[in-house]
Symmetry: C2
Subunit: 484 residues, 2 copies
Amino acid sequence: MAEQKNQQFVKEIADMTVDFPQWFTDVVIKTGMVDYGPVKGTMVIRPYGYAIWERIQQELNVRFAAHGVENAYFPMFIPYSYLTKEAEHVEGFAPEVAVVTHAGGEELSEKLVVRPTSETIIGKMFSKWIQSYRDLPVRINQWANVVRWEKTTRPFLRTSEFLWQEGHTAHRTEEEAVEMTLDILRVYEEFAANVLAIPMLVGKKTEKEKFAGALATYTIEAMMLDGKSLQSGTSHHLGQNFAKAFDIRFLDKDGTLHLPYQSSWGVSTRLIGALVMAHGDQRGLALPPKVAPKQVVIVPVAAHKPGVIERASALADELRLKGVRVELDARDQSPGWKFNEWEMKGVPLRIELGPRDIENNACVTVRRDTHDKTVQSLDGIAETVLALLDEIQANMLEKARNFRDSHIVTVSNVDELKEAVDNGNFTKTMWCGMRACEDKIKELTAASSRCMPFDQTPVGEKCVCCGKPLASGEGHVIYFAKAY
Amino acid sequence: MAEQKNQQFVKEIADMTVDFPQWFTDVVIKTGMVDYGPVKGTMVIRPYGYAIWERIQQELNVRFAAHGVENAYFPMFIPYSYLTKEAEHVEGFAPEVAVVTHAGGEELSEKLVVRPTSETIIGKMFSKWIQSYRDLPVRINQWANVVRWEKTTRPFLRTSEFLWQEGHTAHRTEEEAVEMTLDILRVYEEFAANVLAIPMLVGKKTEKEKFAGALATYTIEAMMLDGKSLQSGTSHHLGQNFAKAFDIRFLDKDGTLHLPYQSSWGVSTRLIGALVMAHGDQRGLALPPKVAPKQVVIVPVAAHKPGVIERASALADELRLKGVRVELDARDQSPGWKFNEWEMKGVPLRIELGPRDIENNACVTVRRDTHDKTVQSLDGIAETVLALLDEIQANMLEKARNFRDSHIVTVSNVDELKEAVDNGNFTKTMWCGMRACEDKIKELTAASSRCMPFDQTPVGEKCVCCGKPLASGEGHVIYFAKAY
């Protein structure tokens, strides 16, 4: 019976090997992470998804603060004219903005855009706040909603409105701005590895793929289980572009006026999509303990027998005292049904506790990542559980790293590149640096450039596309992959 | 010199006894809590203000969770037609909304409003999620930005866009919905007293003042130092109004379909304005330790002397270890300048530490609330500081309570009422319950009804306005005051 229900339950989710996009949608909807909003392209982030976002926020806030970053909040309505002040910026964002034309029952004298990102309005405020070199650096972050109108949308991955953080800094020198840009990139990489258990490919974007208005964009790219890439965070060196556009000037030590150098950087609720597609399996979600809303679920077996619920409840309290996020599932459902539900919801560790276990002063733990089932003594169970959660966290990263590393193929021509990405791989190759080649690869293979890693040790001697020979120091090592 | 600078500094802030509104604006701008946004009526919440908001969020999240409330996020764009589904609701909010007519380069087929509040979109989602009595109760909260287009605006108090939390719940029975409404009201009251050190007047709003679409609105009202009231949070019993409008129906235990009963409730960044106007003085802000971004500032005296900075730094570390939010101000400015700055910023406790103090194994503490200056031993200083912070927190509440209680005048006719409110008091009186009297009082005195307290022990025998005799059980005990 439990076995039947098990199968039935998993059947609610599409087979990930057959239809990965449908598997993703099934998982995020059926686990109660998200729902579709009434306006096309919008999403409702439900408590199970939002709890993950709150953990992401907490983890990043600590890291940002360690880099001298303070949180603030800027208005979401930006005068349309601001958008046009930086030429590349308006070209990149104008087609996607939502526009407020009326408010308070009247037509507005100037249209307002709902922020697609906040470089412009923050640039305006910086021009007011930054007068002297003593005012620098300014390092500000905001957690906010942003709107980018998209034709094709998918919960978490691409929605008209999403939640994110956007950091904005201003510095006296270019070196400091570049250092900040790269410091945050490293924060993202470390956070993704240690909290989300996702090993990122890290590097620089091509001119084509960089942020509209930046001098350089750096990115963290996650490999999803279908071999596609998910751009998961970016950090931009803005140079003096926005300082020029918004006339941010400071009096330097030598008494002359200068434009500061800026950085901006962000990650979004897209990270929740990354988690799903990096760790899930046929049974549904698998969440790393550090972001799991519930780390442990206790399922009582033969719960009607005297003492079972009481012992399970005491166990839950014992774990809670040690800071474990634990759920005691005492609902009137069969254990098998509960096993399936909590597996689908990706809870890292399940504890089964029945009368015989209690008699033996024991319980059974089942890991979500490996499905390992182990009888554990109830003596020192909190320490056992904490150690298991650490193991699960480490193992998930290790597993994702092995998956990633075994799905990167070095290629030396477009046919090889196409074959590799069609088979669910990233490709590593050499590129001459010409936009024409980048475009042609996209056209022929549907793969886009993801990033140029910092380690530029050549993996070939000619451009993967045009075949141009690349002497030492010429061209770029680069990753191409299909992407979300 | 220090004394001169002191006076000069304070001169930057208007005299609160002469121009209280200007004093407020000076304080919130000059302490770096807030700045004006480029779009009329918007504000930028700067790090010093936002840090207070983050503490408010943390404190409330813990309390909401204890009442079974989970956080989530709903889209900010609401189809215009939703607004019109509940008759009172549209009447109340339609004049204030901002409207998106274009997005992604095209005119939208249906206009979207930027949420002024989310009962409608959440009602729509509830109608999808709530099918059975087993799905109830639903208790959801979101932290979000909302937009209400206002003619007259003031930072924190009334802005076109502000941040808030809005809780939305649905229940099987009316009793449960009312209980939730009042539970949260009590949460707000307790939080305001124990965290913000603001004693609230608590009660029910009149029909005129209730939320558009609610059956009943309950409120917490704070007395500002000018004797005006600031509505600081509301909790609404919505009855089945939105359930009807959005067709939320559940199958009850008896197999019949029913509409659930709902509550909604919220507090906003307005609370930061309440803090300023409840505790400030001629020197600027005074923040209760529980929400102060920095609880203690250490100002080294004769900082150039050997060992001073080192000892101050060790002291800061010692306090930090005990969880105190401490700032060591080692900037190249005079101690007097720093004293003034941190007083203006409302830091609850200042520690002065110079060579002679160090010699004596001592330091000087100066309380922001009482200006008490005390020599303290450096032995066990962390415990001393923690105890002082507790004392300051308690004293600020006590002081605000005394101020409030001494500024409530019981009145029995409109002349008395007018005189009392003109002299910076709240009035407590009897009201027959007629809208005409409520309107007339507003017209004649500029005071509005604030709330009807739960304790309805009569304070007179006739209506303050029309003079109608009120037999036992007739009419209402009510507070009238000028309000923000």
